[in-house]
Amino acid sequence: MKLRSVLLVSLVVLISAIAFSGVVNIWSWRSQDADVWKQVESRLRAQGYDIKINFTAYAPTEYDAKVNLALQTGTGPDLVYSRRLPGGRTQTLIDNGLYLALPDDFDLSNFPQAVLNSVTSGGKVYGVPFAVQVVGIFYNKDYFDQFELSIPKTWDELVEVADTLQKNGITPFFVPGKEAWALTMQHAMCGVSVLGPEWIKDLTEGKTCFLDVKFVDLNRKLNDLKKYYQDGFMGNSTNDLNAAFAFGQAAMVFYGIWGYQTWHELNPDLRVGYFMVPPANECQEPYAYTYMDGAIALTSNVKNREDSLKVLEFCATPEFGTIFSNITYNIPAVSGADLPDLDILKVAVDTYNNHASPYVYWVGSVFVTQKPSLYTDVLSPGMQAMYSNKLTPEELARNAQEAISQWYEPLMKK
């Protein structure tokens, strides 16, 4: 009888624990993060928090519309992956109270101010940043060793490297021309080094414009480089890029550090190196295009505020960064994490900390916040058209000027 009572009580306790344990729902566009949240859940449970995390990932192209709709109809999750600021979408959600600011006493001491700037609006912080991205040129170390190539310091040296590789029967660059965003990213990462941050600052302030000879020259440089791309590159996607680069079908790619996870999965023996796009001449410093990728934000639909804040608090610790980077090979936004022992990650982190361009014109720039956007409406179709000989470098520059000067005041009357 006594045993039966004990069993009954235990059962009741167990059922109660399951029924009343805190469920935190999280939505994201990053399906690769699923295992991160499994580990976060087990760590929190180990710390005595009875929290269950439900993680759901949606297609990146559909994600923002889904979040907008769900939050307005009250069917959204507790936490969402939010896009960075400045950005029209995130700002609108903040302005309409659908993203909630973190409490004033929330500990964000593990984040550099530059990272927090990308989640701050009106002096309040909206979300805990999860990753920073570094884009540039990733190369196959074996090919560079084989042909005794060194990391190019100028654009001309980059062309020489490509030339040597091509003469030796290696495709120098694999470019996914079918995916316009990747071409825009290529333009932007070359821009921060070839044009330099000062030029982009002048552009942002309206002291120069897209018609400037430097911008036209960058377009020309990129157009001239296409003879080193794989045949039929305009029909290739980023999936093709991942496979081709992982299996040594090309020596270099213009890409982001997030690609390493896939390359490593496809070919663990691949030795990958990274360098910043070299500047136009030796007098200029090279710069890298880096940006805070996104944050985990508290929504107005939150049903389990206490546990959601507990999850967010964990996300702001180096422990979360360690889990995150060891699973995804991405650079965590939080400082102090133990990253996997990979040279490529160390180089990327060093680049982020010491060589990030302070001025940019792709993700995270003012030029993509209105329509026509430099990203979606100008460079995406424009780069494809230029690479297909349907647009000259000068025409691409003129298109950029005409589009952005429609709404960006500093560039009007140029």
């Binding site: 990146p60 192209t61 559909e62 923002d64 519309a65 907008n68 709709l69 939050l71 307005q72 896009r83 960075r84 400045p86 950005g87 029209g88 979408r89 995130t90 609108t92 959600l93 302005d95 309409n96 659908l98 021309g177 079918k178 995916e179 316009a180 965003w181 794989q230 045949d231 039929g232 590159f233 305009m234 029909g235 290739n236 996607s237 999936n239 093709d240 081709a244 079908q249 993700v363 995270g364 993509v368 916040t369 209105q370 329509k371 026509p372 956007s373 990203y375 979606t376 409406d377 995406s380 179709p381 424009g382 494809q384 058209a385 297909s388 349907k390 647009l391 005409e402 589009a403």
Partner: protein, 301 residues
């Protein structure tokens, strides 16, 4: 009689409610939304006919809209020629009593059952410029000179997508046309044969005229689908409809305008709704004209 009408209304009511809720209301809502600028959240800004001015007066957006519109027109013409034209001849062949006809009917319909996402993925692989099946096959049969970047160049991208679309959908058209052909009274065909008519004469003078009403119905359905096409372009070229908008249709332009591309790109639901109104303004008159034609034909029959 009054009682019958009451019951009639009772039976119609559920469908009427659903139709109003999911068709009429969104339609009217789109019309109202097209008068606003709205990022999808928060207050809508009334802009009157400004969105329509962007669509119809000169400017970059107008160029995008009409570029997409002409691609829809091309899509319809080519898709109709293949899916209905070629579909009719396939249906004719399948209607003949050859050995294994039933198996061939099933084979023709198989692509229609493959989910679109899979079709997009599959054909992306087949059309890969370096290792894709299509180029490899051309090289194998000595036509390597024809191998190219099918989805990466303006001259071939849209036509390639339409052909993939036809590959997937032709089974449906064949099935419907086959039913129409098999519905023809066999005695008519037998009489024609006895009178010494050739196969071509029988096809053009008997089979085609008697299945024409089906062809016309399919043509109008294809017209509506062609102006609503989005999924196949999205699956093979993404929302940017590259290269440089050469595969852009009104559906992808609507999506890009209303929901943006990736990340932080600007969005305008109001302007997007204006494109849907434009699509509606194209489809509706043609559909009404078709219904009028059918009614007229039935009255005169």
């Amino acid at each position: 009689m009054k009682l019958a009408k009451r019951y009639l209304l009772l039976f119609v009511l559920p469908a009427l409610i659903l139709y109003t809720l999911f068709i009429i209301y969104p339609l009217i809502n789109s019309l109202f939304l097209s008068l606003y600028s709205w990022p999808g959240v928060g207050e809508k800004t009334f802009v009157g006919l400004d969105n329509f001015r962007k669509v119809f007066s000169s400017g970059a957006f107008r160029n995008e809209v009409f570029n997409a519109f002409w691609h829809n027109v091309y899509f319809y013409i080519l898709a109709a020629s293949i899916e209905i034209g070629v579909g009719f001849f396939i249906a004719l062949m399948l209607a003949s009593k050859i050995k294994g006809a039933r198996m061939f009917r099933n084979i023709v319909y198989i692509p229609n059952m493959i989910p679109l996402v899979l079709v997009g993925f599959m054909w992306s692989l087949y059309l890969n410029p370096q290792v894709g099946l299509v180029n490899q096959f051309l090289k194998l049969i000595g036509l390597g000179g024809l191998a190219q970047s099918w989805l990466g160049q303006e001259s071939t991208a849209l036509t390639t997508i339409i052909l993939v679309n036809a590959w997937r959908n032709i089974g449906f058209y064949v099935l419907v046309l086959l039913a129409a052909i098999l519905d023809i009274n066999p005695s008519l065909l037998e009489a024609a044969y006895i009178d010494g008519a050739s196969n071509w004469k029988i096809i053009w003078r008997i089979i085609f005229p008697l299945s024409f009403s089906t062809v016309r119905t399919l043509a109008i359905l294809l017209f509506i689908w062609s102006f609503n096409v989005f999924d196949m372009i999205y699956a093979l070229e993404g929302v940017q409809a590259g290269p440089y908008r050469s595969t852009d249709v009104l559906g992808t332009l609507f999506y890009r305008t209303a929901f943006g591309g990736l990340g932080s790109s600007a969005i305008d639901m109001g302007l997007g709704a204006t494109i849907t109104v434009f699509i509606f303004a194209i489809i509706m008159p043609v559909s009404i004209f078709y219904v009028y034609l059918v009614e007229k034909r039935q009255r005169s029959a």
